[in-house]
Symmetry: C2
Subunit: 113 residues, 2 copies
DNA sequence: CAAAGATACATAAGAATCTAATGTATCGTT
DNA sequence: AACGATACATTAGATTCTTATGTATCTTTG
């Protein structure tokens, strides 16, 4: 089962930031594959969604980039900046908190029904 | 603290459906107030977001409506249709599942760091 | 009793962000 | 040689939310 795309909305940026926090340095394609692998195919990040997000993180100064050549093929690595690390902590704790609230909302009557 | 609006994206429809499943019959304004109350002000549903969503649920046949007059003031009640009840179960279990996956993603390195 | 705030509906322009498609190019395998 | 995987990127269109606006009634308070 693949989650409906609307669920991914709003969490993509947080997922990317968290992955970068855990792995120091990643490139776009690698991120799509890692997420797919970690979520057992349930979250599929499309390139059309990922690249604009990465570019936005860069222009917000949350990540820095370095280009590397693997043979003749370009690979663009992303690394968290100091402000990116701070932002990641904020985003992760906000999402964690949000999920607690949502769990509460979804459980309300189910418990007694 | 109020959750950033992007987090609400994609979950609004599910929240509304779940509330209707628990309460049989609710009107728009009541939904905004109930969510605010249940989440201790952390989720604020604006009318500009709610009404289009309710109208969409109606045109998808997931809810039926009945208008009631309180004095001279109109109140529009929404009730889940049979297909709405089925949809609610699907949406709630998908979101629950999604949150488990997200929790896993967010916990990965935190555990060992 | 007038004003302000709460109740209650609704729409609409603009912003943000994702999907799906398309494009370019290299590398490895069969 | 052809195909699939790797790797970047952009764009038209769809979706959905924000912010503002509009209308109208009811309740509370100075």
């Amino acid at each position: 089962m693949i989650y409906s795309s609307e669920l991914i909305k709003g969490t993509l940026k947080t997922i990317v930031l968290k992955l970068l926090a855990d792995n120091k340095k990643m490139y776009g394609y690698e991120i799509t594959q890692r997420v797919k692998e970690l979520t057992l195919e349930k979250i599929q990040i499309t390139e059309g969604a990922l690249y604009p997000t990465l570019h936005a993180l860069e222009s917000d100064g949350l990540v820095t980039t370095e280009t590397e050549f693997i043979g003749k093929r370009v690979r663009k690595y992303y690394t968290l900046s100091p402000s990116g690390k701070t932002k990641t902590k904020e985003k992760v704790s906000e999402l964690t908190d949000f999920m607690e609230t949502m769990k509460f909302l979804l459980d309300i009557k189910t418990k007694t029904a």
